[in-house]
């Protein structure tokens, strides 16, 4: 009786189209399903990484823990796409953006229900989990109340 080895390809759930299915950071997807956006932190040198990494290139310790992205970041810049690459046409228009949390930055999309006239560079925003129409998961930047 041979056992079927299960492939852990959870990362294929990330974004409208994921180009990666297997990574040592697959637990990122489980956290998204629980409503949390996580980075990683090296327990040896204390450095926080976003996007999360499995390996610390500063101290080579391989001693990482998950660390939640909380609070707010400043909107560094954004762009609204009126034309999309193949696979993303149904999402148009959408805004890609960068938030600066001080110790790290987060690249992602701006929440689609936020009108463009309310988006201002320098505004404080928070990173929240978002379920896409095709049942995929990502995270978006939303206004702070």
């Amino acid at each position: 009786m041979g056992s079927i080895k299960e492939i852990d390809d959870r990362f294929k759930k990330f974004g409208t189209v994921s180009f990666t299915s297997i990574t040592k950071t697959n637990d990122f997807i489980d956290y998204l399903e629980k409503g949390k956006v996580m980075g990683t932190r090296c327990k040896d040198c204390g450095r926080v990484f976003f996007p999360p990494r499995a390996d610390c290139h500063q101290c080579f310790a391989g001693n990482m823990e998950w660390s939640e992205i909380t609070g707010t970041g400043k909107l560094v810049t954004y762009s609204k796409l009126e034309f999309a690459p193949i696979g993303f046409q149904e999402d148009v228009p959408y805004c890609i953006a960068l938030l600066d949390y001080g110790d790290y930055k987060v690249f992602g999309r701006i929440a689609s229900d936020l009108p463009e006239e309310e988006i201002k560079v320098g505004m404080e925003m928070k990173t929240v989990v978002n379920k896409l129409p095709n049942d995929q998961l990502n995270y978006v930047f939303a206004k702070t109340e």
């Binding site: 990362f11 990330f14 974004g15 409208t16 189209v17 994921s18 180009f19 990666t20 990574t23 976003f50 996007p51 560094v76 810049t77 954004y78 762009s79 609204k80 796409l81 009126e82 034309f83 999309a84 690459p85 193949i86 696979g87 993303f88 046409q89 999402d91 959408y94 890609i96 953006a97 960068l98 790290y104 930055k105 987060v106 690249f107 992602g108 999309r109 463009e116 560079v121 320098g122 990502n138």
Partner: protein, 388 residues
Amino acid sequence: MSKIAIIGVGQSAFVRSYPGSIRELAFEGFKEAMQDARLTTKDIDASVICSAPEYDKQRSPAGVFAEYLGLNPQPTFYVESLCSSSSMGVRLAYSLVKSGLHDVVAVIGFQKMSEISSSESQERMGRGADIQWESPFGTMMPAYYAMFARAHMEKYGTTLEDLALIRVKAATYGQLNDKAVYRKPVTFDMFSDPENRMSGPVASPLRVGDCCANADGSSCIIIANEEKAKALCKKPVWIMGLGAATASVNLAGRDVFTGLAVAQQAGKQAYEMAGVAPKDIDVAEVHDCFTIAEMMAYEDLGFAKPGEGKELVKDKATYKEGSIPINVDGGLLSKGHPIGATGGSQIRTIVLQLRREAGDIQVKDPQIGLVHNIGGVGLYGNVTILSR
């Protein structure tokens, strides 16, 4: 220390849809450079083939090209750094010749972008960024550069009108370049006319007119050591300085959004190696894949202070008659941007300028020229300084 020279340059016409295969396309640039240098294939000790992957089906193009170009049994190398592949190829060729391993090396860059559709091409280009953490959001090159444009506008008050002036300049010279893919004029008023294609939205704040033209094309640069250069070539052009740098692929790992750190670093290295300063440059080619990219290059290379790049184009300082002529061959915006061929084409333009063979776009008496070639969104940066 022996010097290293460029003894031959060539490129194909940059066209919308090349009616031939990639090896035939590569042959066009190679043939022109070989005829320019008056060499036979026996004179070439090694080849370096440069392109970005996944536009065509050929795996390992270097071996295929070596045969088609008549360069068997000499060794060949394949170099890839997206849009700066052929500048990186020249850097490799320089080191191969400088080491004494080879005397004469041909660097051939090519890209046949027309084998796939425009939206497929955007997806390929988007995957030149971080496929694990960025591409799933639906990224593409114009949107990344648009993020830099918005940051530049917010910090320095740069306007869409300032950027439009760069496109108008590119088209002024694209019309004079019979190898350019876009040979039509572009006027400032087109950008304020909602009916005109140039003003159409792509990725805010950038518009159609701010983006370069995809093209098919090839280029070839032939590098030689000092002894061979003096024996084979009447007007060798010398490689004075080379700079190359890399940065975080994900924008989350960057600190600067109003310029490209790789260009600043590669520029500094090249100036130091050449022993020259920005004021010594007489003519330059910069990587204007988007209008904002040229504006940032002015500042990253020290031709203008940060935030003051717009003054250069407003004053027409970067026109042919100006104090620092830039992209007077039409640039990527009008000449076209066949990814792997671009760096070689930029170098060809500067070599022809330094040899006084640039025809209608000849700048007055240049002694030192500079080439700035970027791969990805500032993922790779190459700066090359040449002299007569």
